[in-house]
Amino acid sequence: MIASDLLDVPVLDADGTHVGFVVDLRLVLDGPPDGPLARPRLHGLVVSPRSRSSFLGFERSAVRAPWPVAHLVRRRHRGTFLVHWSDVASVPTPGEAADPRQEAAVVLARGMTRYDARL
């Protein structure tokens, strides 16, 4: 699986309700050393309720300038949350086109926790 299999994909909760789109992946570097850095591990998905557009870097709470742009982007992405990878029940398998009319989706596990996505 590669990152673009997940990015932009719609997200459904366990009941099949649409909750948003994957706009970013959070990785942590805590694996065994691999070259100069530790091997990255997928920590979770950032899900934005309304928009697939880019966060332009404004997901970091310290980045607030220029104010109008930051405000517009944050507004567009309000309600964005982080789900841990362990709370993801299923992901679209590349190449599997069950129903071409239906877009592939990430399905979240029942009882998953919405974490604050801000950095």
Partner: protein, 164 residues
């Protein structure tokens, strides 16, 4: 969301295309007589500008201020402009009607004659540059062409009610 983005992109492309077509498309498609006369006036402006350009160029070539090669380029660019005006005037469809008390096709014919005279005068500049004789006859020919264009423009402007 993605569908919206695609729609917006198509819309933008269509607008750009429409804009280009509207900008470059032949003015001949203006159906009404007044619109046609506005086009006639624009072509007359182009021809006048070409004549004014070569008048300046000839003056400065005579005064020894403009190199002959550059004067030649200015003259050939102007000749292109004047010929374009003649072709443009020739392809305008003028409805057979009276506009502002004047006969629209007659106005067009007057404009076409003036533009033709202007194109001839501008073309004569290049011949003069090659031969390098006295400029008096040439300048007189250019003045006559400019006057004819002014007259045609005035008549068209009066009829169509546009500021000249």
């Amino acid at each position: 969301m993605r569908r919206h983005a695609r729609g917006a992109l198509v819309l933008a492309a269509a607008t750009a295309l429409a804009g280009t077509l509207a900008g470059c498309g032949p003015a001949a498609h203006r159906a009404d007589a007044r619109g046609a006369l506005e086009s006639v006036a624009e072509h007359l402006d182009t021809a006048s500008s070409a004549v004014a350009t070569v008048q300046l160029a000839v003056d400065q070539a005579v005064a020894g201020r403009l190199p002959a090669v550059s004067a030649d380029v200015a003259a050939s660019d102007a000749a292109e402009g004047a010929t374009d005006a003649v072709h443009g005037l020739g392809t305008i469809v003028v409805p057979d009607a009276a506009v502002g008390g004047a006969d629209a096709p007659a106005l067009r014919d007057q404009a076409l004659a003036a533009a033709g005279q202007a194109a001839d005068a501008v073309a004569a500049v290049r011949t003069w540059l090659d031969a390098d004789g006295p400029p008096d006859a040439l300048l007189a020919q250019l003045d006559d062409a400019a006057a004819a264009l002014d007259q045609a423009h005035g008549a068209v402007a009066d009829a169509a009610g546009i500021p000249s």
